[in-house]
C-alpha cells in the first residue's frame, strides 16, 4: 500500500450540499480517478460511510456548510485511527478520509470483506420456533418496537470504524455483527437454543470495552452498546445458574 496522499478541492457551493455531492463534483470536474462508494444518496443503503472531520459518518447525509459552521459535533472517545494525520482548518475545510479499521483499496474505498465475515460468523439467519407456512405468525406491536431498534442497522460499518477495540483487534466481531446477533436473540418468533452463545468467545461480547463510540456515530440510532451489555449480563446470569445447578 502506498502512503496516503491528501488533495484539496474547492467545490462550487450549493445550499444543502452534502459531502457526497462535493465528492461527485471533484470526480466529475477535477479528478475522475477519485474513488469512493455510493448508491442511494439518501442515507438508507449504508454504502458511503467514511471518516469526515475525524468522525465516521455517511457522506450523503453530512452537509458541508453545517460542518464548517461547527455543527454535527459528535463526541467520541479518542483512538489511534482518529489521531491527527494532516493539519486542517475545520472552519474552512472538511477533512475526508477512508473509514478506519478496514484495508484501503483506493482513496475512500475500503475493503468490507472482514466486516461481512463477522456478519456471516454470527449466522444472521432467522431460525423460527414453529414453521407451518400457511399463515403469518402474530407478533406484539411492542415486540416489533424493540426489534426495530436493531433491524434498522444498514451495515454501513461506521460503528466499526469508530470502535477502539476493533482498531486493536481486527478479529473482534464488532458492534454491527453483535447488534445483529442480538436482534435475532430477542426475536420472539425464534426458538431453540440461545443465540448469545454464538458470540460467547474472546472476540465476541466479552471483548467490548464499552467506549460507546458505536452508538454515538450510528446514523440510524442503533445502540450496539446496550445489546452487548444485556447479552453479557444474561450470559453471566446463565453461567451462575449453571454453576448452581451443577453444585
Amino acid at each position: 500500500m502506498a502512503s496516503p496522499r491528501y488533495d484539496t478541492f474547492e467545490p462550487e457551493p450549493r445550499p444543502g450540499m452534502t459531502v457526497l455531492e462535493a465528492l461527485f463534483q471533484f470526480q466529475e470536474r477535477l479528478d475522475d480517478s477519485l474513488a469512493f462508494h455510493y448508491s442511494c444518496r439518501g442515507a438508507v443503503c449504508g454504502t458511503c460511510a467514511m471518516l469526515i472531520n475525524k468522525v465516521p459518518r455517511l457522506a450523503c447525509r453530512t452537509q458541508v456548510e453545517t460542518l464548517l459552521k461547527g455543527g454535527l459535533k459528535v463526541s467520541i472517545v479518542p483512538y489511534p485511527a482518529i489521531e491527527e494525520t494532516v493539519p486542517w482548518n475545520p472552519q474552512e475545510e472538511v477533512l475526508v478520509e477512508p473509514l478506519p479499521h478496514l484495508p484501503v483499496i483506493r482513496d475512500l474505498i475500503v475493503d468490507m470483506d472482514m466486516f461481512f465475515q463477522h456478519y456471516r460468523l454470527i449466522e444472521p439467519v432467522f431460525k423460527p420456533l414453529t414453521d407451518n407456512a400457511e399463515r403469518e405468525r402474530t407478533m406484539e406491536p411492542a415486540a416489533v418496537k424493540k426489534l426495530e431498534v436493531y433491524t434498522n442497522c444498514i451495515l454501513c460499518a461506521a460503528c466499526s470504524g469508530a470502535c477502539p477495540v476493533q482498531g486493536k483487534d481486527p478479529r473482534y466481531l464488532g458492534p454491527a455483527a453483535l447488534a445483529k446477533l442480538y436482534r435475532f436473540h430477542i426475536d420472539p418468533r425464534e426458538g431453540g437454543t440461545s443465540r448469545l452463545k454464538t458470540a460467547d468467545i474472546p472476540t465476541g461480547w466479552r471483548a467490548c470495552e464499552f467506549f460507546e463510540n458505536c452508538s454515538r456515530v450510528c446514523p440510524k440510532g442503533v445502540p450496539p452498546r446496550i445489546a452487548i451489555a444485556k447479552a453479557v449480563a444474561q450470559l453471566k446470569k446463565e453461567k451462575k445458574r449453571g454453576q448452581l445447578n451443577s453444585n
Binding site: G16, Q27, E28, R29, D31, D32, S33, A35, F36, H37, Y38, S39, C40, R41, G42, A43, V44, C45, G46, T47, R61, I105, R106, I109, M112, Y119, R120, E123, P124, V125, F126, P128, D131, A133, E134, R135, E136, R137, T138, M139, E140, P141, V144, L147, E148, T151, N152, I154, L155, F184, D187, R189
Partner: protein, 574 residues
C-alpha cells in the same frame, strides 16, 4: 497482471444479474431447487435500490376491513391494479401476481422479516393510492430495507455465490440463445466471463436518465440496455412514473405512506387543491393523477418559488409521525432541514419508476431464449401505463420466485454452454475498454450526462408534446454521437469508476432513445403518458403495448396486443 490477458470463466447453472429483491428472491428459490445459481451485481446486494423502498407491499391479506365491513380479495387487488394501469396491464399477469401476493408476504414473514403489526398481532396494512382497501403491508417506512436484509441473510445462510461489484458489460449468445455474460470486476479491472443455462435479468429501473429522480444513483438501466443489444425487445418504455412527492432539492422520495397516513397537499394559498382534481380520492388518487395536478398548480402560479407545494403532516401529531413515518421525518430533517411535526414538507414530482422494461411473458421469458427478466427491469406487464404504490415490492418477490420456478423447469433441457463464445466476448469487451481508455481530448462525458438528464426531464416529463419530443430525440441522437468522442482522464483498469460511469452513460443514452421513440409514436394520453396534443385515451388505436427492438444499428417500434380479461376498459375516475 497484464491487461486482459488472463481469461476467467465462471460456470453456474443459473446467472442472476442484479442483487435487489427480485434477484435475491430468485436466487433463494433456485438454491432451494438444488441448483447452483450465482448473483452478479455492480454493488453489494444490500446497496441495491430495493433497500430504499419505503411505503409497503400490496397483498390482500384482509387484516383490516374496508369501508362498510367489506373484506379485501385478490380480485379487488387485481381490479385496482388494472384500473390504475389505465387498462394497459396484461390481466392474466395481474391475476397471477394478486393471487400470489399474500403468500409472498407471508413467506417473507416466515423468513424472519419484521413487519409492523396491528394490535391483534397481525401484519399491519395501510391505505395507498388507487386502492379500494387498506392493502399495503408495511414495516414502518422501511419496508424495502427490512425485506432486502432478510433475503440477503438467507442468501448468506445458503452460501449462494455472489459476485459483488461486477459490472455486466455484455450478454453472451450462441445459436440465438443467451448463455451468459461478461462483467468487469470493478476493483481489479479484469473482465470475467460467466456461463449458465439460463440468465435472469433483475437489474431494476433506469430513473437516472432523468435529472429529477428518486432513484439511487446506480439506477442506470444497464439490464434493459444489455437485453436490447443482445436481441430482446423492450416494452412500454414511454411509461415513466413521476412520483408526486419527492423532497424539493434532492428529490429523495417522500413515501405515499405519508398521504396514506393522512398527510395532505397544499398549494401556496394553503388550498387543498387535490379536492378539485380528484373529488373522491383527493390526496390518495393514483400517482399519475396527483403528479399532474401538482405540476399544473405550479405551472399556474400556485406553487412556491422554485416549483414545489407543501405536504402537510402536522395534524397527524408527533406520536403518529414518529411511529409510522420515522424514516420520512429523518429524511425531511437531514435533507431539507424541516421537521414534519412542526412544518410542512416541500415536495415536487420527480421520476420514480419505470413501468416499461424488458419484454417478457407471464413466466418472465424474453424473446431471446435463455434470457429471463423480472422486477422493475422487466415488463410482463402488471403496471401497464401507471403503477400503483405498493405494487412494485410485491412484483419483485412474486415474480422473483415465479420466474425462478420457470427457469428451474427449463434448465433441465437447456444445453451446456461452450467456452468459445465466452472467450470471444471477453476479448471484444477488453478491446472496447482499451479503445475507450486510449481516447484523448474531447468534452467531459459528465457534461453529456447532464445534458441528457435535462433533455429527458424537460422534453419527456409529465406533460409531453410532439414537437418538443422530436427536438428531444434529435438531441439524444446527437449526444449518442458525442460520447463516442469524449475521453476519460483516468486510464487505469483498477477501480476506474469513471469507466463504469461512462459505460452506464452509453446505456442510458441508448434507453433514452427507446423512451423517446415509444413516447413519440404513442399519440394518445394514458396513465403516466400525458400528451397535451392528444389529451384523450384512444383505445381504438392504442390499447396495445409498444415494443422497441434494435437491429442493424437501428431502433424500430412495433406493437403487441394487451391481454384483457374480466375488467373491460372504462373511463378512469377517482
Amino acid at each position: 497482471m497484464k491487461r486482459g490477458i488472463c481469461t476467467v470463466i465462471h460456470r453456474h447453472d443459473v446467472l442472476i444479474i442484479g442483487g435487489g429483491l427480485t434477484g435475491l428472491r430468485a436466487a433463494l428459490r433456485i438454491s432451494d431447487a438444488g441448483l447452483d445459481g450465482a448473483v452478479v451485481s455492480k454493488v453489494h446486494p444490500l446497496r441495491s435500490h430495493s433497500v430504499a423502498a419505503q411505503g409497503g407491499m400490496n397483498a390482500s391479506l384482509g387484516n383490516l376491513e374496508g369501508e362498510g365491513g367489506t373484506k379485501d380479495s385478490w380480485k379487488s387487488h387485481a381490479y385496482d391494479t388494472v384500473k390504475g394501469s389505465d387498462y394497459l396491464a396484461d390481466q392474466d399477469v395481474v391475476e397471477r401476481m394478486c393471487r400470489a401476493a399474500p403468500t409472498a408476504v407471508i413467506e417473507l414473514e416466515h423468513m424472519g422479516m419484521v413487519w409492523s403489526r396491528l394490535e391483534n398481532g397481525k401484519i399491519a396494512q395501510r391505505p395507498f393510492g388507487g386502492a379500494g382497501f387498506p392493502r399495503t403491508c408495511y414495516a414502518a417506512d422501511r419496508t424495502g430495507h427490512n425485506a432486502l436484509h432478510t433475503l440477503y441473510e438467507h442468501v448468506v445462510g445458503r452460501k449462494i455465490s455472489v459476485y459483488e461489484e461486477f459490472f455486466v458489460t455484455s450478454l453472451i449468445t450462441e445459436d440465438g440463445r443467451c448463455i451468459g455474460c461478461t462483467a468487469l470486476e470493478i476493483m481489479t479491472g479484469q473482465v470475467h466471463g460467466f456461463l449458465g443455462k439460463a440468465v435472469l435479468m433483475a437489474t431494476g429501473g433506469f430513473g437516472r436518465i432523468f435529472n429529477k429522480s428518486t432513484n439511487a444513483l446506480i439506477n442506470t438501466g444497464d439490464g434493459q440496455a444489455l437485453a436490447l443489444r443482445a436481441g430482446a425487445l423492450l416494452k412500454d418504455m414511454e411509461f415513466v412514473q413521476f412520483h408526486p412527492t419527492t423532497l424539493f432539492g434532492t428529490n429523495i422520495l417522500i413515501s405515499e405512506g405519508a398521504r396514506g397516513e393522512g398527510g395532505i397537499l397544499l398549494n401556496k394559498d394553503g388550498e387543498r387543491f387535490m379536492e378539485r382534481y380528484a373529488p373522491h380520492s383527493v390526496d390518495l388518487a393514483p400517482r399519475d393523477v396527483v403528479a399532474r395536478s401538482i405540476e399544473q398548480e405550479i405551472a399556474e402560479g400556485r406553487g412556491y418559488d422554485g416549483g414545489y407545494v407543501h405536504l402537510d403532516l402536522r395534524h397527524l401529531g408527533a406520536e403518529r409521525i414518529v411511529e409510522r413515518l420515522p424514516g420520512i421525518r429523518q429524511i425531511a430533517m437531514d435533507f431539507a432541514g424541516v421537521d414534519p411535526i412542526q412544518d410542512p414538507v416541500p415536495v415536487q414530482p420527480g421520476q420514480h419508476y419505470s413501468m416499461g422494461g424488458i419484454d417478457a411473458d407471464i413466466n418472465g421469458e424474453t424473446k431471446l431464449p435463455g434470457l429471463y427478466a423480472a422486477g422493475e427491469c422487466s415488463c410482463l406487464s402488471v403496471h401497464g401505463a401507471n403503477r400503483l404504490g405498493g405494487n412494485s415490492l410485491v412484483e419483485t418477490v412474486v415474480f422473483g420466485s415465479l420466474v425462478a420456478a420457470r427457469i428451474i423447469e427449463d434448465v433441465v433441457n437447456a444445453p451446456t454452454p461452450n467456452d468459445t463464445p465466452a472467450k470471444a466476448a471477453i476479448k471484444s469487451v477488453n478491446d472496447r475498454i482499451e479503445d475507450i481508455l486510449r481516447r484523448k481530448g474531447g468534452d467531459r462525458f459528465f457534461n453529456v450526462r447532464d445534458a441528457m438528464t435535462a433533455t429527458m426531464s424537460d422534453k419527456f416529463g409529465i406533460f409531453r408534446e410532439k414537437q418538443t419530443m422530436q427536438d428531444g430525440l434529435n438531441e439524444i441522437k446527437k449526444m449518442q454521437e458525442q460520447i463516442s468522442h469524449v475521453s476519460l482522464q483516468n486510464k487505469e483498469r483498477k477501480v476506474n469508476q469513471a469507466l463504469v460511469r461512462f459505460l452506464e452513460l452509453e446505456d442510458m443514452l441508448f434507453l433514452a432513445e427507446a423512451v423517446a421513440r415509444g413516447a413519440l409514436a404513442r399519440e394518445e394520453s394514458r396513465g403516466s403518458h400525458k400528451r397535451t396534443d392528444f389529451p384523450e385515451r384512444d383505445d381504438r388505436n392504442f390499447l396495445k403495448h409498444t415494443l422497441v427492438g434494435f437491429r442493424d444499428e437501428k431502433m424500430f417500434v412495433s406493437y403487441q396486443s394487451v391481454t384483457l380479461g374480466t375488467f373491460e376498459p372504462k373511463e378512469r375516475v377517482y
